[in-house]
Amino acid sequence: MQRTHEATKKRRDSLPLQAPPHIPRTLALSVALALALLAAACSRAESETIEELEASGAVPKLDRTDSLTGTDADQNGVRDDIDAFITREYPLEPQRKAALQTARALQKTLLVEPGDVQSAKAAAREDARACNCVYRQFPSGGTKEAAQVGSELESLTANTKQRLLALLRTSKTLDGTSWALPTGDTCE
């Protein structure tokens, strides 16, 4: 156990138990909007384009072809653009391999036939193995948190409408199911 009840109790005792007045959502969002616009206006570099952001690596340059799997010239189960992103982001071999395992698992989730529960469950288990590996290779407090690695790779994998819908369909197929987080070394 990494947490103690005593520490938590101490913190809890110092917390207000009564709810402060609820802030209307429209006000909160409007304030956020105004500040976001202000921040954007202040930092905007009008001469830059999204293409230049992609060229500089500030945002990833992605494969937007029609197929679910995109271009995978080396046939390693990972789209070449995601391969390049991983190579650039994770120079350490164990982290690179863990990210590739995750990308491969996510790509497989796109290929599950709608309603094929057994295949969807197999994909979920494979993603869980990859997730467990990422947490082994990206310890908390490092250059990037494991959770961020996973969420980025999911976004990269689901970067077209077709791919995003495929990813959500597989999740929908898993509705009402159960699976575990495996333990041990699940890195490939």
Binding site: Q2, A32, L53, A58, G150, A158, D175, A180
Partner: protein, 433 residues
Amino acid sequence: MKALAILLSSVLALSWSPATLAEEDGADLCSDPGVVFVFFNGVQTTLRGANYAKAEFHRLFGETSPAGETIKYEVLYNYSEGFEDFVETFEQRLKEQEGILEGRFELFFEALRGGGPWWDQMQRVTSSAASVLVGLVEWYEAETLNNLTTLVGNPPTSANYAEHRARIENWTLEGKKLLFVAHSQGNLFANAAYDFALTKVSSDSVKVVHIAPAAPTLRGPHTLADLDLVINGLRPFGTVAPVTDSIPGYLDRPPGVTGHKDILGHGLLEIYMNEGLAVSERVFGHVVSALNTLVAPEAQAVPGFITATLTWDGAGDVDLHTLEPTGAHVFFANPAGHSGYLDVDNIVGLGPEHYYASCDPNHLRLGEYRFAIANYDRAEGRTATVQIASWNEGVLGTRSVVLGGATEEYPAYLMFNVRVFQDDTGELRTEVW
């Protein structure tokens, strides 16, 4: 009929290659968890999101309980109806403002949290990105509230979640302590699961921790942030648990481990498990308190490398039959096989029946296991459910069948094939079909 069953067993045995497991110094192949940490995911959670939430709980609470027992982390997953409809609206919104962001679906998940590093970059080069994002967030909040309100009005039923119930049945049978931790709409499912679990074990053996509960009723302590715009937005439509904690405004919040803040104040990893926010201490305290007080129920079955659990929905005698890789036919008349045992048999009604394959490498056999069932007597028309699970990966599959007439010892329904094999690294794995 008994002769037919034995004949079937013999024929299958002849058609299979003998299978053996490499000896491994007598080490136990499985880790038997004393506690199962069961996560019920919240609204708009993908399978990847569910996996990473489990992994975060594992990172924070570790593999050992205060009593020194192993903790296993599993999800009882639910999908938010209509999630895929969001994609259509997202596509339309990206086409606004001269379409500069058109087709960039990699921004979808960041947008649901109110932004992130890639949106920040987009806002650097085009001011229209900010207005697109805020429009998306306002629309997303309204749609999420709409979907949650619908779900609260039509809560999940047992018929929709047979796999969840069969899993709980298996856990209680094996004497596990159960900790249910639910976020958002997962609380509706956790409540149903808790009520079901109480038909099997006492409240000492199962606890619920509610996080940002969308459910109008609670089964345990809860945490709710004042700026959770999703759950607090449900107040006009019905009963919502009281706020327990204040959180800073959006701009003052530290990002969670995903690198995002969540503008709606509702995210599990961004808000409630964000160690930079005091609200997380309440959640962690509830979890630790539950772990400290859970009491193990009496075990009626033994966990295994793989297990099969059979239940059915009424009176009658239904039998679980296992055909092991060596050809051994394990059923009520022959409960001990070469690899495993039928350790729970039921002849009255409902079940369960339970088979486990040994975690002892000297007993576990590699190869194909076949699981079949028979209506031995008085179970015609009953729905029988078989769930196969592995010790490390959880449920491999759950299938149900409506039984025909009695066939006594003849297993008329083949439910699952499971292959136990050693992969390239030497790890023992399973494959099911």
